[in-house]
């Protein structure tokens, strides 16, 4: 996956992500595509979550999946979740939960949903995502409605391993997260940070917006055979757009 938070010169914050899924889950030799990614593209839906008769937040989901990978709460915050692979990973959390050793641990996508349902500000959401015990590592990418509101929370099961804020990041006006800790080198065979940073730098801050970020996320290798959709969000305007993606032809498998 690739998530991006960027702000334009006037401080308007935009949040977007590519969802990549299906690695090593069956290869279709005719269509040259991952089987699971093909299936998932047919199951993408947008959801208006209603409470007390009013819109509480928006998300997109795979049909039948009740947790949240991407959501936007109007005038409050937006969030995306990217896989974080650690030795002490989801299997460890599940085992602890099964044996009752981690009764309070939250399943990742349900913690994201709980945050959207109960937290009303960017700072409240950040605190909740940083400090709630959970059952698997993850990167939460959180955006707000005001200038400089953007951060990446690298979570381990019991704590925040690394917090990266947009304003103090090397780029200053954007954050880009794939599936590696900020400041560490990507696996050579899976370098989506270098192309992503290059393309964002080519975009420049004056061209930040849905169009510019969508074009970055439509560039290889951030777009690859695993990519199922791009979601574009603006907390300030409540715009939430999901656009189907695929990478036919000569394209990297991940």
């Amino acid at each position: 996956c690739t998530s991006v938070i960027a702000q334009d010169k006037d401080g308007h914050v935009f949040h977007a992500r590519n969802l990549d899924f299906g690695l090593f889950m069956g290869w279709d030799p005719v269509l040259h595509d991952w089987q699971i990614s093909q299936k998932l593209r047919k199951m993408i839906i947008n959801v208006n979550w209603l409470k007390d008769g009013k819109l509480l937040y928006k998300s997109n989901n795979f049909a039948g999946y009740i947790g949240i990978y991407n959501g936007l709460k109007p005038n409050a915050f937006s969030l995306t979740a990217d896989d974080r692979f650690q030795l002490v990973g989801g299997y460890y959390g599940i085992l602890k939960w099964v044996f009752g050793l981690e009764a309070d641990g939250k399943w990742m996508s349900w913690l994201a949903r709980e945050t959207l349902e109960t937290k009303t500000t960017y700072l409240d959401a950040k605190e909740h995502l940083m400090n709630t015990p959970m059952l698997s590592p993850v990167y939460f990418i959180l955006g707000g409605s005001k200038k400089d509101e953007g951060c990446i929370i690298a979570r381990s099961l019991d704590k925040t391993a690394l917090l990266t804020e947009m304003a103090t990041s090397p780029h200053g006006w954007y954050l880009l997260e794939t599936n590696y800790d900020q400041g560490t080198e990507d696996l050579y065979l899976d370098d989506r940070d270098t192309p992503g940073f290059r393309c964002m730098d080519k975009l420049t801050q004056k061209n930040v917006g849905f169009e510019g970020i969508f074009n970055v996320l439509s560039s290889r290798t951030n777009l690859n055979k695993l990519t199922t959709y791009t979601v574009l969000m603006s907390v300030e305007t409540s715009r939430f757009e999901t656009i189907l993606q695929s990478c036919p032809g000569e394209c990297y498998p991940w």
Binding site: M25, G26, Q35, I36, K39, K42, M43, I44, I45, N46, V47, N48, W49, L50, D52, G53, L56, N60, A63, G64, Y65, I66, G67, D83, R84, Q86, G89, G90, Y91, I94, V98, W107, M108, W110, E117, S136, P137, V138, Y188, L189, D191, P195, R198, C199, K202, L203, F210, E211, F214, N215, V216, S218, S219, R220, T221, Y229, E241, T242, I243, L244
Partner: protein, 120 residues
Amino acid sequence: ELPAPFKDHCILDDKQNLYDPSKQFDIKWYDVNLDLPPSERWVQIATANKEHIADLIGVLINLITPWFPNAIDFVDDVFGDLAPKLAQPYRDEIFSIANATGIPLGQITMYNIFYEIFTV
């Protein structure tokens, strides 16, 4: 010495614009009403998409089966036993999706906690 790095391609180099906002309407919108009991929230979505959900889970199980011949039984039994232990309201929502789609509870549970399994 390592071979040449992956050749990335930023489409901004081509002065291309691939963004077409009208494509957002290819994705259907649904409501999930949190004022309803958990058992009723997902019925419309689950019913409308039950073939796709079954198809996806079927592919997953077909992929596992050559390595693990009793995969279906394992998923149905182990994840079916986990389901009643899940927190509310998620437990009731997962039960209702299994009911609405006719897909075994264990398979719907596995699908819904797949992130944790996948990070293995």
